[in-house]
């Protein structure tokens, strides 16, 4: 179990992290925040490296360099900007820490840092031979390309298991995340005077017909439980002068899909409207779905540890994507759960302290106490 001192330290680190306004775009503050983490690790005699890709800073630390990692903690320190400047002044009220990033995901990052330090102490005392690592990035909210994706693409690490607590709940593990697929549709018609529409071809109408066809293939999900592929029309734009038949229109679409079959269905539907309405589409972003086998030994192991803390982990499916999608080609089991907290991105973000401590205990136990056991399975 956790000591009072440890608990105090977790809260203090989380609040320190929240005080850095690491909103998207504040790259300098993100660097300062990572330097804070670097200093903290250094005081525990752990080295780490801060790297930068296109102004986006990341920190990587492992017990043993250039060696496959047994457990890799992954988190992001960036937050979405808040209109309320007070959001970066954390406070505690009725057992909750409030502040921007409290649940997404500075609490989790704080817990992982301390868990990592504790594991290192055991490693130094030769109580464990496992190589543990931690990777903190600062661009998740804008796609994670210069952070996690960069590290994956450059083969900067190999890991047997990743802990990425950016989805799930205190009592449920995310075992699937939908893929995301964003396209831009462009429709072209012929301009004509608005009083003689039959002489032209209205690009907006063509686009609306195409959207109607697509919508039939991807009807609006009505509730959370509907685990289906979906389509959101984020943007539509077309036309210029009031008395003209518009010759151009475009739309931005955001698809969420479960698997390869869904993906094929999306491409087929897009190809159909492309042919039928002479519309072009351009892929803007494509992120694969994430899926974890619930029978995987690491998943079984975390469930077992959960039970020791009185939690019977359920499995859940997440509609939204996270940085986990960048790992999907690596086929690594990913542990995705997090403490109780608010829905992310609102101005009253909070995390429950007891739940946070429990989260800390579970991940710490997962990577150290019983870790020899699992690697024997």
């Amino acid at each position: 179990m956790v000591t009072a001192k440890e608990k105090k330290e977790i809260i203090s680190v989380v609040m320190d992290l929240i005080r850095f306004d690491t909103s998207t775009g504040n790259d300098k503050t993100s660097k300062e925040c990572l330097s804070y983490v670097k200093g903290k690790l250094l005081r525990n005699k752990i080295t780490s490296r801060i790297t930068v890709v296109k102004n986006h800073y990341s920190l990587l630390s492992t017990f043993k360099p250039n060696t496959p990692i047994d457990y890799l903690f992954v988190g992001h320190i960036d937050v979405v900007p808040s209109s309320n400047p007070q959001a970066y002044q954390p406070f505690i009220n009725k057992g909750k820490i409030y502040g921007r990033g409290a649940i997404d995901m500075k609490s989790e990052v704080g817990a992982m840092i301390l868990s990592y330090i504790q594991a290192y102490k055991k490693y130094k005392k030769s109580e464990s031979k496992l190589n543990i690592g931690i990777l903190l990035t600062s661009d998740e909210e804008i796609g994670g390309y210069d952070g996690l994706k960069h590290y994956v693409d450059q083969n900067f690490f190999t890991a047997k298991c990743v802990i990425l607590p950016d989805s799930g709940h205190a009592d449920s593990l995310t075992i699937a995340e939908k893929g995301v697929f964003q396209v831009r549709l462009d429709s072209t018609g012929f301009a004509a005077h608005g009083s003689r529409p039959w002489q032209g071809e209205n690009a907006i109408e063509k686009l609306m017909f195409a959207l109607g066809d697509l919508k039939k293939n991807f009807p609006l999900p009505k509730k959370n439980k509907e685990w289906v592929a979906s389509m959101n029309i984020g943007k539509i734009e077309g036309g210029n002068a009031t008395n003209s038949v518009p010759s151009r229109a475009c739309s931005h679409l955001d698809f969420r899909y479960r698997n390869d079959d869904d993906y094929s269905k999306i491409i087929k539907a897009l190809d159909e409207v492309k042919k039928k309405y002479d519309i072009t589409y351009t892929i803007v972003l494509s992120g694969k779905p994430v899926s974890v086998n619930p029978k995987d030994k690491y998943i079984k192991h975390i469930c077992k540890i959960g039970k020791e803390y009185g939690i019977n982990f359920k499995f859940e499916y997440a509609h939204g994507a996270s940085d986990a999608r960048h790992l999907s080609n690596l086929n690594i089991p990913i542990i995705m759960f997090r403490p109780n907290g608010s829905e992310a991105h609102d101005d009253n973000e909070w995390v429950d302290i007891e739940s946070l401590i429990q989260f800390y205990c579970i991940i710490s136990s997962f990577i150290s106490n019983n870790s020899r056991h699992i690697h024997k399975i």
Binding site: W198, K215, L220, N224, G239, P246, R256, G320
Partner: protein, 356 residues
């Protein structure tokens, strides 16, 4: 006479009388006024857009029998188009067809006849038709200018524009509820709401395959303030350009309101249609004059676009669009047929002389 018409037309074309050049609007009016010595010139001006009302006699009649209406403003053009060129019986230049050629012929026929006519004949020269006619024709009507019959010299290839559609410009606005695009059930998409409105348009006013005398709805513009792919948009605005036939004048607004129930509507323009009854004696007289000069039966045409004649609809005035042969209006290749200008002049002259 043909030379005189062509000379005046050329003089008018060489003045770059677009709305961007207010001094040129004054200049083009001055050139015309100079031609009309001996007539009373009543001057109007609003927003630096001058217009005149010309008639014989010292005081303006309560009601004119006939008004010729000509606009001297043009839409912007390439520089060379303000240097008129004659080629193969055609006169090229900005405004040759729309409508400085027609204006010259109207002016000269008026000048020739009006002074000696027992009837009250007016000539209205304006400089803002291309941008709506509010500072010219509309202003003059508000100042009390009335007539049962106006002839706008817009290019019609000698067709008589008996009816013209009315115009509605409007915004349709849909509101929704923001949510993350992966969790759409938490929000409400304003674009999908708008899609329903567009479906209603397709049902009520299907897109015409060819020219037909029916009300049309053009979706001119659509937009949302949202720029993010993964957000459910909470606003969407669509701009419509509706051209309605005079037969739909009284029913169009309730129909629109029913079609877009639950959405916010903003009417930007609501212009009346133009329609002349077949029993209007001046209308009949014009048809007779056309037939006797050209030897051909007048061709009645229905206009999809509106002209300044529509402003008279508000005060129960009727009128037509009637003009010479030409093409390329608003294009880089605008021309008017020179021979048709003199024919046009003769028809108008005959028409005025026959008003006994």
């Amino acid at each position: 006479m043909e030379n005189e018409i062509v000379d005046l037309t050329k003089k008018l074309i060489s003045i770059e009388s677009t709305d961007a050049h207010k001094d040129k609007l004054r200049e083009v009016i001055d050139v015309c006024v100079k031609e009309l010595e001996g007539y009373t010139i009543e001057k109007f001006n609003q927003n630096d857009r001058p217009s005149v009302l010309v008639y014989a006699g010292k005081t303006r009649p309560k009601q004119f029998d006939v008004i010729f209406n000509a606009h001297l403003d043009v839409v912007s053009a390439q520089e060379h188009q303000f240097h008129p060129q004659e080629k193969d019986g055609k006169l090229y230049g900005r405004g040759a067809s729309d409508m400085k050629g027609g204006a010259a012929a109207q002016l000269l026929s008026f000048k020739e006849v009006a002074k000696n006519s027992p009837r009250a004949i007016g000539l209205q020269l304006v400089t803002d038709e291309e941008i709506g006619g509010y500072d010219g024709t509309y202003l003059q009507i508000n100042a009390g200018v009335r007539t049962p019959f106006v002839v706008a010299g817009e290019p019609t290839d000698f067709g008589v524009g008996q009816k013209a559609k009315g115009v509605i410009w409007m915004n349709v606005k849909a509101k929704g509820l923001v949510a993350h695009g992966a969790y759409q059930w938490r929000g409400e998409s304003a674009i999908l709401k708008m899609k329903k409105a567009i479906d209603a348009i397709e049902k009520e006013f299907p897109v015409l395959e060819k020219e037909e005398w029916r009300t049309t709805v053009n979706i001119a513009k659509i937009e949302t303030s949202n720029t993010t792919y993964n957000k459910v948009p909470d606003d969407c605005t669509m701009k419509l350009d509706i051209r309605y036939i005079p037969e739909d004048w009284k029913t169009i607004k309730p129909k629109i309101e029913k079609m877009f129930e639950g959405l916010e509507l903003e009417f930007l323009e609501f212009e009346p249609p133009q329609v002349t009854s077949e029993t209007n004696p001046y209308f009949k007289q014009l048809l007779t004059s056309i037939e006797s000069v050209s030897g051909q039966k007048a061709n009645i045409v229905l206009k999809h676009g509106a002209s300044d004649v529509r402003h008279f609809s508000r005060v129960e005035g009727e009128g037509v669009e009637f003009g010479p042969i030409g093409a390329g209006l608003h294009s880089d290749d605008e021309w008017v047929d020179i021979k048709s200008l003199s024919t046009y002049y003769r028809i108008l002259k005959k028409f005025l002389e026959n008003l006994k």
